[in-house]
């Protein structure tokens, strides 16, 4: 039992070192001290081991990333809604998404996109290059540049490793990281806990607000670099703000910053960095590709 606690302490401290927040380091080190029974000497030993552990831990091995992301994708389809039945719609969204990925640091990675058959307005991403958007979100859009803006926001979460960073700040994630380090890739209970944690972050707790704002501005840049009108996300969020009547979903709830804050951030990004950059809106194609599918 004591050895188990010591191992947890190492993992917790390692997770703290793998992240960059000094306050998190302090908090998790304290947790590590508690896990070793409050003995300072052992806590120091834990810290030394954790430093070595953290050095070999980051970046997250892609096998682990795909296992966690695959689990979150499974849980998403199980609890949030099924894949929308229109193959045409799925192919269309996938092409827009892949075009954007080609302009990011993860160009060439095998991203997968899905339209989830539910009516609220939401989109989310999981490690391992999984991106989801609800049919309700697409219904609230008017052109392809708005779709590109939302997908680019989610892609930015993946390229910046936001979900992984959030998970690294937690004790439960530290445990599975240690399992992988020890060659225990088949530790399904640990994976289950990590998937549950990721699902909770996405649908209940939310990412850090700064991460959401970063994904907005980076997403706008990705969309513009692809050739889309950089104002697509701005128009979409402005419309959501005007229409907001309570039936929102993740993009309109406490898991994201207030819409007016996000809109102001995007406005500043465009005004500061993207003046003179326009791009395609592809309204007619968007209508042609989505109207029939979403009328079902």
């Amino acid at each position: 039992m004591k050895a188990f606690l010591l191992a947890i302490g190492v993992a917790v401290t390692a997770a703290a070192l793998a992240s960059c927040s000094s306050s998190t380091v302090a908090a998790l080190t304290e947790t590590g001290v508690r896990a070793t029974g409050g003995e300072p000497e052992k806590a120091r030993a834990v810290g030394q081991s954790a430093g070595q552990f953290a050095g070999s831990f980051a970046p997250l091995p892609w096998e682990t990333e795909y296992a966690i992301g695959g689990g979150i994708a499974l849980k998403s389809f199980s609890e949030q809604g099924q894949l929308h039945p229109s193959d045409q719609l799925q192919e269309y969204v996938t092409k827009v998404g892949l075009a954007i990925v080609a302009k990011t640091p993860r160009a060439g990675f095998p991203f997968a996109f899905a339209v989830v058959d539910r009516d609220d307005v939401n989109a989310w991403a999981a490690p391992g290059d999984y991106v989801f958007i609800t049919a309700g979100a697409i219904r609230a859009m008017e052109d392809e540049s708005e779709l590109a803006g939302v997908l680019a926001h989610e892609i930015a979460h993946v390229t910046r490793g936001h979900m992984v960073r959030m998970m690294q700040n937690t004790q439960r994630f530290a445990a599975i990281a240690q399992g992988v380090q020890a060659g225990l890739e088949k530790d399904i209970p640990q994976l289950t806990q990590t998937v549950d944690l990721g699902h909770t972050i996405i649908f209940e707790r939310g990412l850090d607000k700064d991460m959401e704002l970063e994904a907005d501005t980076l997403g706008v840049e990705y969309a513009a670099a692809t050739g889309y009108d950089p104002q697509g996300l701005y128009r979409f969020l402005t419309r959501l703000e005007q229409r907001s009547t309570g039936k929102g979903g993740g993009w309109l709830t406490s898991t994201h910053p207030p819409l007016n804050t996000r809109i102001a951030g995007i406005r500043a990004k465009i005004s500061n960095d993207l003046v003179g950059i326009d791009g395609a809106v592809a309204k007619e194609r968007f209508q042609a590709m989505t109207a029939k599918a979403l009328a079902q």
């Binding site: 980051a58 970046p59 997250l60 892609w62 990333e65 795909y66 296992a67 992301g69 695959g70 689990g71 994708a73 499974l74 849980k75 389809f77 199980s78 099924q82 894949l83 799925q90 192919e91 092409k95 075009a99 080609a102 302009k103 990011t104 640091p105 160009a107 060439g108 990675f109 095998p110 997968a112 996109f113 392809e144 390229t159 910046r160 490793g161 992984v164 960073r165 890739e185 088949k186 399904i188 209970p189 994976l191 670099a225 692809t226 050739g227 009108d229 104002q231 128009r235 406005r267 465009i270 005004s271 500061n272 993207l274 003046v275 003179g276 950059i277 395609a280 809106v281 592809a282 309204k283």
Partner: protein, 202 residues
């Protein structure tokens, strides 16, 4: 010489940072109508005081770097103009002048043309994602890229999780179909899709 270099560096940073501030007010950039589906056909503008094409040693604003892979250096300021070069992520170019939202640059190979300022930074992109906990494609060897690409498909560990958690089989089929959709789009199909939508990188 040192002060001259510093002056050029300052000028380059100012050029990149202030690119958007000339012409339309910032407010107008957001509020203007956006129904355009393709760039308006305009003749390429001849930049004032442009160095002679290919003339090495011409006055420059300093060195800048491609922010992403595949940045296209175009012959003119029009986004539909032919490419004269394609930059790798982090590849250095010499900035010769700014023209609206675009920069005229010279590549290490001597090609001169225009790039969108949003694709260029005054410092090289980060070389590693080691502290972000995420894999960055630019830092991977071809072999590593191949491994990552071939791993696509629902992770065996995730499948075991689905069984252990007693998730409905439909969820597994949905993830597998989602992944198959991503793999089914070829590079040529994506290129055609972008052309049909008149989506052209700046």
């Amino acid at each position: 010489m040192k002060s001259r270099s510093m002056g050029m560096g300052v000028a380059l940073m100012a050029a990149i940072l202030l690119l958007g501030t000339q012409g339309a007010p910032a407010q107008r950039a957001v509020d203007r109508p956006t129904q355009r589906t393709q760039p308006a056909a305009q003749p390429p503008r001849a930049p004032a005081a442009a160095p002679a094409a290919g003339q090495r040693g011409a006055a420059s604003l300093g060195t800048a770097y491609a922010k992403r892979a595949g940045v296209e250096v175009k012959r003119t300021t029009e986004r539909t103009s032919p490419n004269v070069a394609t930059l790798k992520s982090g590849e250095a170019v010499t900035v010769l002048l700014k023209d609206g939202a675009r920069l005229k640059v010279r590549t290490a190979g001597g090609a001169e043309g225009f790039v969108a300022a949003l694709n260029i930074a005054s410092t090289p992109p980060a070389q590693t994602g080691s502290r972000s906990g995420i894999i960055i494609a630019d830092n991977m060897s071809p072999g590593e890229r191949q491994n990552v690409s071939s791993v696509r498909g629902l992770s065996p560990m995730a499948k075991e999780y689905a069984l252990a958690a007693q998730l409905p089989e439909k969820a597994t089929r949905d993830v597998e179909k989602m992944e198959a959709n991503g793999k089914s789009v070829s590079a040529s199909a994506l290129s055609t899709f972008l052309k049909e939508g008149q989506v052209v990188a700046p």
